[in-house]
Assembly symmetry: C2
Homo-oligomer: 346 residues x 2
DNA sequence: CTGTTAGCGCATTCAC
DNA sequence: GTGAATGCGCTAACAG
């Protein structure tokens, strides 16, 4: 424990103010009115606090109150992820908002480390734990977690009954449909929807299909490939046919879209004039491409913040699963004429 | 403070094992040999621990020992950064290695929030604080930090005298020089070296120039532009001349290189046949480009880990500034023939 | 080798 | 309105 100068204790403050520790404690905890403490005593204590540079010892307070003012965030590898780390930004901000400190730990997917980390945080006395994953998927949390105050972030665990905060992938798929429903040519999906055992692909595809159906359209084709730039580039390049002109490519994430861009360029197809491209994630990459990519964004900051909020709310005051909307980040890869007003009947 | 089932205390363990709390404490703190406690007592205590599911109360221990087993990491916006968040990964791993928990907080560059956060962490009783920045730059840390156990990460504060851990940007510049020193055409730098008041640009440029000089070469030109894709694309596109063929573009970061790629493609110049490209950062983006980009990498994970190690080491046992090498991540953007053996006389 | 005792700094119940 | 006394759970002198 690091301390710059000798720290003053509450007793020192009380002594200097000429009151008892109890009185000083009440005043500092905002109960001076309730306890009807004299204004004079309040003033003396307050100035003693300033004079002595008194800071309450949170450890001692925690021992007494059984609350530490900290929440934990354990993840597989959120901080390593390209931009999923923004969940940390959101969680950190929300924690600060409630005057809490955030304990983070990465397990790199190791179940052993995971248990150790959760136990350590519990021992440390965190007031709650957010369990986050890089990919939106199903998990099976350690028993110790399931028995404590916890919230799942970007994942769900049906067995545990823990509340979860996730992106609304189906709604995102529907938004993508709205963006391309009026294009003249075929709507083609790029990317394997079963990628990495993640929920994202299948749900995005489901939403897309559902909404396209409502608008009287269908998915003409699915170009399956890994969610990486080279895989998408090669797959799109092989698949490309002039019949695809005036259609739209719905890429399952931004890296896939980048690969698609490269393939289209190689074939001399111009985005968005010859073919529209939309994708999912809304990562920084979308803004780096030329033309900029229209992408249905993962609201990582909001997800992280909301997870902490749900954690702090009274248990049961939230739906088991909170789905956060995926906002459309508009780029130049989709002609306005291809879009339909969201929610319209088409 | 969250607790699944009623927690057993050390006293319960001692009672069940038929020993005193002291004895139990010694055993659990690995001092049974030193205290010459009977093997029988040790066994009884150990099984009592298991039976009762006893976990030591870290808060109580902290109150007594004045150490909390936590370190803080406060940053401007490291978690928001594209891949700088990996400093967190490194720090988290190093903390775990020493059985410490990591408290993180982002200030978003707000000096007020910064002070609040540092104070809160100090109140919380962290054993030390890592102060990190997204960009490698000079900072002026809050007074409270300067007076406590702290280490700077990716920044320096000459006034504070705090130890710092930073990437060796000059060495990185030298590595870049080695990669392109033998190219037939001119060596041209892309990017404004004074970008964002950061140290990175100037130091990379200095290292590049220094090493090129040793090898009998010079920087032919500097194409100044912001470190963004569109700015670099436009700048390189305007500047491009057939005279640049067979030369090399040294881009000050990967996004600049991406812009350069786009400009070169527009002019029909092929990488690496017509022109070599190297850059700095070693971000994921480097692997997404075609051909993949050879980049001198920022060792973010190692930086984060080292910062925690320096924090935990006895004060004064490290140089004031620890510079970590920037490893070259080889891609396909530089012909082997253009390179020289690092460290050779050329 | 083991038990007794005394705090760590704070919140809180109960007398005054 | 205020102060004395108690205990959160643990560690570490000190005595036996």
């Amino acid at each position: 424990m690091v301390r710059g100068v000798r720290k003053a204790r509450l007793a020192d403050v009380a002594a200097r103010a000429g009151v008892s520790r109890t009185t000083a404690s009440y005043i500092l905890n905002g109960r001076s009115a309730e306890m009807r403490i004299s204004a004079d005593a309040v003033d003396r204590v307050r100035s003693a606090v300033v004079d002595l540079g008194y800071r309450p010892n949170r450890t001692a307070r925690s021992l007494r109150t059984a609350r530490t003012g900290t929440v934990g965030l354990v993840s597989d590898s959120v901080a390593s992820g390209h931009f999923a780390s923004r969940m940390l930004t959101g969680a950190s901000a929300a924690a600060r908002e409630s005057d809490l400190l955030l304990l983070v730990g990465e397990t790199d997917g190791d179940p052993l480390v995971e248990r150790l980390l959760v136990d350590q945080m519990l021992d440390q006395g965190v007031d709650g734990i957010v369990y986050a994953t890089l990919r939106h998927r199903e998990v099976s949390v350690p028993l110790a977690l399931a028995q404590s105050r916890a919230v799942l972030l970007n994942c769900v665990d049906p067995a545990s009954g823990l509340p979860a905060v996730v992106p609304d992938e189906v709604g995102g798929g529907r938004s993508a449909a709205d963006l391309v429903a009026r294009c003249a040519g075929p709507v083609v999906v790029v990317g394997d929807e079963a990628e990495q055992g993640s929920y994202a692909g299948a749900m995005r595809l489901a939403g897309l299909e559902e909404r396209l159906g409502e608008l009287g359209r269908t998915i003409a084709d699915v170009v399956r490939c890994d969610w990486t730039v080279p895989a998408a580039r090669d797959a799109v390049s092989c698949w490309w046919t002039p019949a695809a002109r005036d259609g739209a490519l719905v890429c399952l994430n931004d890296r896939v879209a980048m690969g698609a861009y490269q393939a289209l360029a190689a074939h001399g197809a111009v985005v968005p004039d010859d073919v529209a491209v939309v994708s999912f994630d809304g990562s920084d990459l979308a803004g780096w491409l030329t033309p900029t990519l229209t992408s249905v964004a993962l609201p990582f900051v909001a997800l992280g913040a909301r997870a902490v909020e749900v954690l702090l709310a009274p248990p049961g005051s939230h739906a088991p699963v909170t789905r956060l909307a995926m906002p459309v980040v508009r780029g130049g890869s989709v002609p306005a004429a291809a879009a339909v007003t969201p929610g319209s009947a088409g």
